[in-house]
């Protein structure tokens, strides 16, 4: 009796439950994008597939000498929990590497890097 009732309730719940893409945070879009040549950007913005934990998500932008171009920390905008932004100082022409690390809300850590050039 109990099993039959729980079975029916669970089936109803299953029919009502939308499919969800549970995963770790991977890049959906980045500005500047990887391997592009752009005018000096004001910020780096990376959109991920999952909501992020701001306290353990970061972006570091390094110049060709490997030095970070700013001491500022990346932030997760309150209206965009899947995005990570870092405000940049005026960047001279050259090659830059973006290093990112995230902790998604589901507890998974991911990280990576890519390059872009300022003309």
């Amino acid at each position: 009796m109990l099993s039959s009732l729980s079975t029916r309730l669970l089936l109803m719940l299953g029919l009502a439950m939308p499919l969800a893409a549970s995963a770790h945070a991977v890049i959906q879009r980045a500005q500047p994008a990887a391997d592009t040549v752009v005018a000096a950007p004001h910020m780096v913005r990376i959109d991920f597939t999952e909501p992020l934990e701001p306290a353990f998500s970061s972006i570091v932008v390094r110049n060709a000498q490997g030095q970070p171009v700013t001491a500022d920390k990346a932030a997760v905008p309150s209206d965009a929990p899947r995005s990570l932004t870092l405000v940049l100082p005026p960047l001279p022409a050259g090659s830059y590497q973006v290093e990112w690390r995230t902790l998604a809300r589901d507890g998974h850590r991911t990280g990576g890097n890519y390059r872009f050039k300022v003309r």
């Binding site: 729980s6 439950m17 995963a23 306290a55």
Partner: protein
């Protein structure tokens, strides 16, 4: 600590909680046939607390790996500024309620406050991991909370019987029958919620490679099915129809039950590992 070892250490710590909480809940549900006392009850709560503490420390260690920040700061930040950390903090008052309830009860079995606290801890565990980024977190939490609670009940009852009940139960056939009833009641819930969890993970299946997540999921399912087959075999082969009748081969029954307990402990361990693994990995 290497990443793979940290992952398994976290899973081991996380396994202690559902195992201990399931044992405590089943001590209340099974009642007198399962030998229990205040010392055993408090010991099992201490195991759940140790699992929670280990989970907190290992998560902070993993988050701080490669950083120069002091560990205490990382621990505090991981507990107060992350979804999973806040859930772990929320489990602290629940474990205290469970402890005081078991101390208060003459037989060490949790009363209603303790049972509610144990369920709250299981829900807090279920709310972390992949549930946190589901499109409909409430539905995902309901499904996974039921799944984890039902598996904890099945595993916890078998583990408690295998560790505490087999030597000293006054009515082993009665205990075996209640274990069997508990398992039979939880199985439809486990199967259905497992299928719904599988449905939720479907969009990621295309990303799977044959290691990590899909491998552990397969082994987990295999271990659960083997435990189920052993339990069914034990019931039909060794359990007399009358609770008061002597069991024809009690030694064989408890031997099979201990094997079932091992398989269920493996199921819990792999379940915890899956909760901390990326499905696409």
């Amino acid at each position: 600590m290497p990443g793979w070892l940290a992952g398994w250490a976290m899973a081991a710590a996380a396994t202690l909680q559902p195992a201990a909480l399931g044992a405590l809940l089943s001590a209340r549900l099974i009642g007198r046939p399962l030998p229990w006392n205040r010392r055993v009850g408090c010991g099992v709560v201490a195991i759940a607390a140790a699992g929670l503490a280990g989970d907190m420390l290992l998560a902070a260690l993993a988050l701080g790996a490669g950083d120069e920040a002091p560990f205490a700061g990382t621990l505090w930040l991981s507990l107060t500024a992350t979804h999973a950390g806040l859930l772990r903090l929320a489990a602290v008052p629940a474990v205290l309620v469970l402890w005081f309830d078991c101390v208060r009860q003459p037989d060490g079995r949790p009363g209603w406050p303790g049972c509610l606290a144990a369920l709250a801890m299981l829900l807090a565990r279920a709310a972390g991991g992949h549930v946190a980024d589901a499109v409909d977190p409430l539905a995902a939490l309901t499904v996974h909370g039921l799944h984890l609670s039902a598996i904890a009940l099945w595993s916890g009852s078998v583990l408690a019987a295998a560790l505490a009940g087999w030597r000293s139960s006054a009515a082993p056939a009665g205990l075996a029958r209640r274990l069997s009833t508990l398992a039979t009641t939880t199985l439809p819930v486990i199967a259905l919620t497992g299928a719904l969890n599988w449905q939720r993970m479907q969009p990621m299946v295309g990303l799977w490679r044959w290691h990590g997540y899909p491998l552990w999921l397969s082994v987990k399912l295999g271990a659960a099915l083997a435990a189920l087959a052993l339990g069914a075999w034990n019931r039909w082969r060794h359990l007399p129809n009358d609770d008061t009748a002597p069991m024809p081969d009690a030694a064989a029954f408890w031997r099979i039950l201990r094997l079932e307990a091992l398989l269920l402990a493996l199921t819990l361990l792999l379940g915890a590992r899956l909760g901390a693994s990326a499905p696409g990995a």
